[in-house]
């Protein structure tokens, strides 16, 4: 229709911009804005405004004197950001966080996938019961998980080492040995893989059965069917879990903080360097040492890292993730 240009004798209609502006006169528009007003307010006051302030503070020496109003806030330029590069604790906490993510994310996905595949294989009725059981750790509050880390993995008396002793292995001092602290937290995370499992289970149920039948017809055995049919078909769900778990790993706070940080006996604080994750370091800078300007700079660093890692994941995913209906 539009390709046939018919010179119009009537006056031209209102321009796009004008129509767009005039829509603000409609009742529906105003009602809609009234409906989303709570979110707009929350976004401006609790997200956008704080983001701007956070960016501003990251270039200042904002701290406990400034909160109390004793000293004025001074601009320090890029000092906070330069400080990040020379602060050994930043390097340490980043290293800890990455090591933890590299262990936790694949382990959690693999265990969740294995559980989901087995649940698929035993059918709905039995699978439903076990699904509930495997899901329970996922709804255990992280503070409780942090407590359980310390008591279950106690090097001398913990039940884990007790069990290992029964099969003739002397377990390490999980919660004291710096090399074992991160694996221990990761193990408890794998224990709480129920959420990931449910996402993958839903994806498994979404794989069309005729694909398996076709593959079986072509003579593919169970293993090949898994790698050539199941994995590509659930790759969007796997990718989703990968991104979500990576972001969660980068923000790991509660379990590690409960288990390894806190108020000591005599009013002091204690912390274990091997469990110093990046989010914990931000928190301690902000609310224990009250270096708020520096903590803001650290937080923006985390944004940059999150965006960078997610960006890489998306780039890589173009090669490995298969979206149904991609070719429309």
């Amino acid at each position: 229709m539009t390709s046939v240009a018919v010179p119009s004798r009537t006056a031209p209609g209102p321009s796009r911009a004008r129509r767009w502006l005039s829509s603000f006169r409609e009742r529906e528009t105003w009602t809609a804005y009234l409906f989303i007003l709570p979110w707009i307010f929350g976004f401006l006051v609790l997200t956008l405004g704080p983001m701007i302030f956070s960016a501003y503070y990251s270039f200042t020496n904002y701290g406990v004197q400034q909160i109390a109003g004793i000293e004025p806030t001074k601009s320090v330029g890029f000092h906070n950001y330069k400080e990040i590069w020379s602060d050994p604790k930043v390097a340490l906490s980043l290293k800890n966080t990455f090591i933890y993510c590299v262990m936790m994310v694949p382990a959690k996905i693999i265990v969740a996938l294995v559980l989901a595949v087995i649940l698929m294989a035993v059918g709905e009725r039995l699978g439903g019961i076990f699904r509930t059981i495997f899901y329970l750790p996922h709804i255990t509050p992280p503070v409780a998980v942090g407590v359980l880390v310390i008591v279950l993995f106690n090097g001398g008396y913990g039940i884990v080492n007790d069990a290992l002793r029964h099969i003739g292995i002397q377990g390490p001092y999980w919660t004291i040995d710096p090399n074992w602290i991160k694996p221990t937290i990761a193990i408890m995370d794998v224990w709480a893989c129920g959420g990931t499992m449910v996402i993958l289970l839903a994806a498994l149920y979404g794989v069309p059965r005729h694909l398996y039948e076709a593959a079986a017809m072509d003579g593919a055995n169970a293993l090949r069917r898994f790698f050539n049919v199941t994995l590509p078909m659930i790759s969007p769900a796997l990718f989703f879990c990968f991104i979500i778990l990576t972001l969660a790993g980068l923000n790991q706070f509660t379990q590690a903080y409960t288990a390894f940080f806190g108020a000591g006996g005599a009013g002091g604080t204690y912390g274990v360097d091997a469990a110093l994750f990046y989010a914990i370091y931000i928190f301690r800078n902000a609310f224990v040492y009250f270096n708020m300007g520096y903590a803001c700079a650290l937080a923006w660093m985390l944004v940059a890292i999150s965006l960078f890692i997610t960006g890489i994941n998306i780039l890589v995913s173009r090669r490995f993730v298969f979206y149904q209906g991609e070719q429309k």
Binding site: F41, V122, A299, L307
Partner: protein, 329 residues
């Protein structure tokens, strides 16, 4: 759960956005032989014991006297009620409800989580419905912004929001006729819930999009205004999504340690997770505590139990809510 032919309970329109995870009827699987299935079941039972053991251990340790916590016996050799008892000072084993205002903590967590979850459910529903139903200028831009905020790590806004509450706190203290709102009070823990939450808005919008538009148009024909249409048609139809939001936010509040840690100072205002963390610090030997582990275990059980009850009641909503997240990708 027994009748697999029953129609899916909540699905509206074209299948609805919340997937039926396991109840969907499938054709019988031809390949799984009996032997294979038996092996899988044995494997599953083994794994189930492994996954459940921390809970069993916790339950058992809760009822062991001081000193027996780490004997790791499945059934306590000596039984002990560690929750309440005579208030005798330290060399004597302590009781949970004597050492701290645990009752306050539980009650604080209950009312804060219920209030916060209710607020966020309805504020999010309002916004989600607007994004799903209305056509208005800047809608797509605003929705893109909303999705972008999902990516933002909470640490960025943590400090300025804290300072904002600090300012509000000082302002309300300067004006005695105002209630004291600010840091040190519980308001910062639930007031933000009144402004909706990006994740729940996204989740509920998906659900509202699944409701046929005709329903709303019909209500409009009946003379409903926009808000009464939302209240009479949208809210009842979206009940499953609202319940998912509600229980997820309850869970989020029971999981949260950081916010209470930042905002609360008085022992009596603590929430359960923060309280249990403080108990852990106090009695944990590594933290310089006294080693009254039976108190820690009893507290931990109290922290875990409400979540298990919530899950028991709302199981299918938990599972569906989680499964729908996977569709986001």
């Amino acid at each position: 759960m027994t009748d697999v032919h029953a129609p899916p309970p909540v699905v509206t329109g074209s299948g609805g956005p919340l997937p039926q995870v396991v109840r969907r009827r499938r054709r019988p699987q031809p390949e799984a032989s009996w032997i294979k299935k038996a092996i899988f079941v044995v494997l599953l039972i083994g794994l189930a014991i492994l996954f459940l053991y921390p809970f069993i251990w916790l339950l058992s340790a809760t009822f062991k006297p001081r000193g027996d916590t780490f004997d790791n016996a499945l059934i306590p050799h000596r039984w002990s009620w560690n929750f309440t008892g005579p208030n005798i000072p330290e060399p004597h084993p302590q009781y949970l409800f004597n050492v701290a205002p645990v009752g306050h903590w539980m009650w604080n967590s209950i009312w804060i989580s219920v209030l916060g979850a209710t607020l966020t459910t309805f504020s999010s529903a309002l916004v989600a419905f607007a994004f799903a139903y209305f056509r208005f200028p800047l809608r797509n831009v605003l929705f893109a912004i909303l999705l972008a905020t999902l990516m933002l790590p909470g640490e960025v806004t943590l400090i300025p929001v804290y300072l904002l509450w600090n300012h509000i706190g000082r302002f309300t203290l300067d004006h005695p006729w105002l209630p004291h709102i600010g840091t040190g009070t519980q308001y910062p823990l639930w007031v933000p819930n009144a402004f909706g939450s990006a994740f729940y808005i996204f989740l509920q919008r998906q659900f509202f999009l699944g409701i046929p538009r005709d329903y709303f148009e019909a209500a409009r024909m009946d003379g409903d205004g926009y808000f009464s249409m939302f209240r009479r048609i949208a809210i009842p139809l979206a009940k499953p999504a609202l319940i998912v939001t509600f229980i997820f936010e309850i869970q989020a509040k029971w999981f949260d340690l950081q916010q209470p840690l930042i905002y609360l100072r008085d022992l009596a205002t603590f929430t359960a997770p923060l309280g249990m963390k403080i108990l852990f610090d106090k009695f944990n030997a590594a933290g310089g505590g006294e080693g009254d582990y039976q108190v820690i275990m009893a507290g931990t059980l109290l922290l875990v139990l409400p979540m298990l009850v919530l899950f028991g009641v709302f199981q299918k909503y938990f599972i569906r809510g989680i499964a729908v997240q996977g569709r986001k990708g």
